[in-house]
């Protein structure tokens, strides 16, 4: 389980997050929804120990990410695409991630096949499309067969077939008892995947709960999104 509790983050005078609180439960897909710049990535970066919070806590199974004994088995993460250096090949990227996580080498080829990059395993990341980069990032997240997946904008750049594929993959992951937390600014995609929604705008959570509750009173999720975030289209 992932618990975010009263998380705040300031950059100098600018407040990036204030009092962000929500949980992502095992067996459910939790979508973290908000316009660009609302604080989704900042929250996920703090959760993964990349950035420091000004106050509050972000815990995985009750401990901060940095204190996890086997981070790769607890959380599979994807931030900003693949995270692979552009001059490395897909397979070499996954090989070092596996080495760092103490994950058996055979998993590298397994996840390459699972995300559909087997043919491209020897291609340099600089030749990848956005969709292929997303698949590589997802492959790295899946390496350690983790209990939770934390994915920043995973459907970005995927073609319709890729979106169907990731939807099925995440559904299956949650149905097997995994925790899935994904961020998105695309409401349509999220409505099809999510069980729970956390809507964030301007660094504050404006609504959270099961999908049906959050969109109650609105015609559809898109209306709910713009209603809750007080926004016009970006």
């Amino acid at each position: 389980m992932i618990s975010i509790d009263r998380l705040s983050k300031r950059h100098g005078a600018r407040t990036v997050l204030s009092d962000v609180t929500f949980d992502a439960q095992p067996g459910r897909v939790t979508a973290f929804l908000g316009p660009n710049g609302a604080g989704k990535s900042s929250t996920l970066r703090i959760l993964l120990g990349l950035d420091r919070a000004t106050s509050g806590s972000a815990l995985v199974d009750g401990v901060p990410y940095r204190a996890l004994r086997h981070p790769a088995r607890a959380v599979g993460a994807m931030l900003d695409g693949s995270g692979a250096h552009r001059s490395r090949t897909a397979r070499n990227h996954l090989a070092w991630v596996a080495a760092a996580g103490g994950i058996p080498r055979r998993r590298v080829d397994e996840v390459l096949a699972e995300v559909g990059l087997w043919e491209a395993r020897r291609a340099r990341v600089s030749t990848f499309s956005l969709g292929m980069g997303q698949r590589l990032g997802l492959a790295a997240a899946l390496l350690g067969e983790p209990a939770a997946l934390v994915l920043d904008e995973p459907v970005n750049g995927l073609d319709p077939e890729g979106i169907r594929w990731i939807r099925r993959l995440l559904r299956g992951y949650a149905d097997d008892g995994g925790t899935v937390l994904l961020s998105s600014h695309l409401m349509g995609e999220v409505a099809e995947i999510a069980d729970d929604l956390v809507v964030i705008a301007g660094g504050r959570v404006v609504r959270s709960g099961p999908l049906s509750e959050v969109s109650a009173g609105y015609d559809n999720l898109e209306d709910a999104f713009f209603g809750l975030t007080g926004g016009s289209a970006r």
């Binding site: 940095r66 996890l68 981070p71 250096h85 490395r88 070092w96 991630v97 750049g157």
Partner: protein, 263 residues
């Protein structure tokens, strides 16, 4: 156990990064080529009987005069080990940086930087193990039988001094690039400093304290007293210790910054 995994990952990263292999390979090739060129000059002087035109006839000097090229290689290895983490992917591919993947896989940041330092030293050692014997063999072959005989122990000691200077230079570069979080500026400054003109050397004209700056302090690890520019330099042991202290101190500062700031 956990550190062994991080070290394994860092070694893998370094060896699968084309920039690492190009830097090491080019330095080795350039060192051997310069050693051959210098040895050719000695050979020509010997053949023409004009030994006064060369500063030395020793193949060891001919080979070690190529040391600055290896220093440049060491700088690149040290810088690239960390700057590759901060290189931004094209926005087509999500615009991410590898450092996020690195720290998600291994949240212990001091361990990550420590593993990088060990990796860099191992790479430099491998580079030296190829470049120095190859340069020496090439120079000896070209100068031929007129070469003055030198005890193996002395040669080995000087080669070890060169390798140590390179390794410490690479660690200094790693520390500086970690603080800078990029490669371009450290590369420009450090390569200019080790190949074109040393700022510390210029400064040594003003104050002898400049001999305690990192690059000059370790100078005598490879340079003979006869080299004009190092007249007043620290002796090899003191100089090596001073340079080592600089490298260690800089890595501690870099480690502190790396551990504290947002990735």
């Amino acid at each position: 156990m956990r550190f062994a995994r991080i070290l394994h990952a860092e070694l893998r990263k370094a060896l699968t990064l084309p920039a690492t292999l190009v830097a090491a390979g080019t330095s080795v090739a350039a060192s051997v080529a310069l050693a051959a060129y210098n040895a050719g000059g000695v050979r020509a002087a010997i053949d023409s009987g004009r030994l006064d035109t060369v500063g030395y006839t020793s193949p060891v000097e001919a080979a070690l005069s190529a040391t600055p090229l290896g220093t440049v290689g060491a700088v690149i290895l040290g810088v690239v080990a960390i700057s590759s983490e901060y290189a931004v992917n094209s926005t087509d591919a999500g615009g991410g940086r590898q450092v996020a993947a690195t720290l998600a896989a291994a949240p212990g940041r001091v361990a990550v930087l420590g593993a990088k330092a060990i990796t860099v030293v191992l790479l430099v050692a491998a580079m030296a193990a190829v470049a120095l014997p190859a340069s020496l063999a090439t120079a000896r072959h070209i100068i031929g039988s007129e070469a003055p005989a030198e005890p193996v122990g002395t040669i080995a000691l000087r080669a070890a001094g060169v390798a140590l200077y390179w390794a410490l230079t690479a660690l200094l570069a790693l520390g500086i690039a970690t603080l800078a979080r990029s490669g371009t500026l450290p590369l420009v400054v450090l390569i200019a400093n080790s190949s074109v003109v040393s700022f510390s050397f210029l400064l040594s004209n003003l104050t002898p304290l400049a001999y305690y700056l990192p690059d000059l302090a370790g100078m005598r690890l490879f340079a003979q007293e006869s080299w004009a520019m190092v007249d007043d330099a620290l002796d090899p042991v003191t100089g090596g210790l001073v340079m080592g202290a600089w490298a260690l101190g800089l890595l501690v500062v870099a480690g502190f910054a790396f551990a504290r700031r947002d990735a």
